[in-house]
Symmetry: C2
Subunit: 340 residues, 2 copies
DNA sequence: TTGAAAGCGGTACCAC
DNA sequence: GTGGTACCGCTTTCAA
């Protein structure tokens, strides 16, 4: 691997001149700049990233902690993040928590030792303690939360309007004649869970339908555990008072519960209507086509990345005015929630 | 950020001792080791990765170049790669080519300047020139190809048996009474394209069905371009001699062509049977459920990562004996290829 | 068993 | 405009 010193020696000048020439500084004569450039190209010189980072105390890379890459929602989010980071010259290191607190903790540790310049996080569903994020932030690391956030955390946050999404879906079901509507959701302490539940309740309330707590089922692993999902579904459908419609609050849950209902032989939507949060491509090809609340995943990644860059490149002493942004979800109608 | 020097000063010893103690070297007294460990823990010391990499001339990170993260197949592959890399202490930097040669080239450049220890590549469909990979390899960078490979490239390679997958699907269709079977595939120069086409041809040949070149359509962007897909589909279905079945050679193509057929109102499988390579979860919920060839994506990532680690950690002077591994795909039967 | 010091590749301050 | 050089944090050889 060729270094600046090699170039300096070959061209008979000092390393500092070479460095400056490569950075195209005006102080260096155009002639020298050209000579250096040409030679660097010729020997295919690449700056050593570690030396640069060590010296400049910044790595031009950011870390991402999210639940799972094969989840279509997050896959699209990553795409959005990378589109921004690449154009700004930053690298993106992605880690998966698989909804586990322990994994999240160890990922954060690894990322910290990589001296990343900033961190994008969608909190694992198991996580209830935030001191590991706070510790990083106190050390000067910019942190932005997206999707699953910690509302009381002092930093930029980006969420999709889960309240609205859930509200629209529930309202849609009510308009189509359903009144016994269930809601299967994630862990109760999560912001997303609370919002989505809130939208569901509000729609019921506005329609004058009494809220029935036994129609709401929580899953601690947010749909990642098939047993948990089956249990929640069974509890709902073996009760004396069964729901006529189920809404689901996350990608995994939606796919899993829909799949279960088909498996168990429920007629959809005649016997049981279904709809939920879902970013999988192709659910319009399901039988019946699935009514979904789609979140703007790519845009979420893109915007979160922009917020992070803003924090990273802000002057150190500028006091940060943290904002919380909300993106609007879309309700995509399918046949799984048709009028009875 | 605390450094080794801080620890040394606080404990009144030299940086070298601290370094050795942290690495648990026997030369250092147990007492000292414990003292250092305890203090390092207390101040939450994390080694500076850049300094380490700069000094040791290795980064403990690997680069990955693949087509697209939101593609379920690659998302699962990434999962497999990370499971190995994390356990071995390596970091994984993922880049997407979106099937573009230019993007692939620039990704490789970025990764190289990050001084990655190794590279995992699934070649972009546009790529026809391999000198950028060769250059890296000549500089001592271990490279492993997976999925979309360059067969003549001297290194470890890992593919799924596309010939077999395609053969099984075509054979299945023939057994169910179809004879006019089409095949929509990617760019003709790709190894995967040729294999999958090969399996298709072999099955036809064994059944004594004449190969009809007008039943094979190529897409240069491998399903990423909706226009291309529509054109290929239209060409097949507006010809005088229409196929009764279509097989598709990649995830994107399978989803896209299936979607098109539904949209255009074809009765599946009565009028047109469909099946193809597909790793999307949930196609059993399609209407009709989709016959698919599933590739072992997680295992592919896992094995490719292991092969790369093997190359990285091999002693420099050991001559490499490169191997080509094949993983077996599974044929998942659905209703989209039922007997007429 | 521990310490001193050189050096990994670049950058940036200070001279000239 | 250009050169000399200290230094970023860590590892490792040599010496003690």
């Amino acid at each position: 691997m060729k270094t600046i010193k090699d170039i300096a020696k070959a061209l008979n000048m000092s390393p500092s001149t070479v460095s400056r020439a490569l950075h195209n500084e005006d102080k260096i004569s155009l002639f020298t700049r050209e000579r250096v450039r040409a030679y660097a190209d010729k020997i295919n010189y690449k700056p050593n990233h570690f030396a640069q980072s060590l010296r400049k105390q910044r790595s031009l890379s950011v870390g991402v902690v999210l639940s799972s890459i094969p989840n279509s929602f997050f896959a699209e989010v990553i795409n959005g993040i990378e589109s921004v980071m690449n154009s700004k010259g930053y690298f993106t290191i992605i880690t998966q928590s698989h909804e586990s607190y322990a994994k999240e903790l160890s990922n954060i540790g690894h990322l910290a030792s990589r001296a990343i310049d900033g961190l994008l996080v969608s909190v694992a569903s198991e996580t209830k303690d935030f001191t590991h994020f706070k510790a990083l932030q106190d050390m000067g690391m910019p942190v932005v939360f997206f999707d699953r956030t910690i509302s009381e955390f002092p930093t930029h946050q980006l969420v999709s309007d889960g309240f609205k999404g859930s509200y629209l879906l529930t309202q849609h079901l009510i308009e189509h004649g359903y009144t016994r509507i269930a809601h299967i959701t994630g862990a109760p302490h999560l912001s997303t869970t609370q919002e989505r539940l809130g939208g569901y309740k509000r729609a019921l309330q506005e329609a004058g339908i009494a809220y029935n707590p036994s129609f709401v089922k929580y899953t601690m692993r947010g749909g990642m555990s098939e047993e948990e999902n089956q249990y929640a579904f069974a509890q709902l459908m073996t009760a004396q008072e069964k729901p006529e419609a189920i809404t689901t609050a996350s990608d995994r849950l939606t796919l899993s519960i829909f799949s279960l209902a088909i498996e168990k032989g429920f007629a959809i939507p005649q016997e049981l209507a279904m709809g939920g949060f879902n970013n999988f491509p192709g659910t319009h090809l399901f039988s019946p086509s699935l009514t979904s609340i789609q979140q703007p995943a790519f845009e979420m990644g893109k915007t979160a990345a922009e917020m992070l860059i803003e924090l990273i490149e802000r002057k150190k002493n500028t006091p940060a005015a943290y904002t919380v942004k909300q993106l609007q979800p879309r309700l995509l109608l399918g046949n799984s929630t048709l009028k009875k």
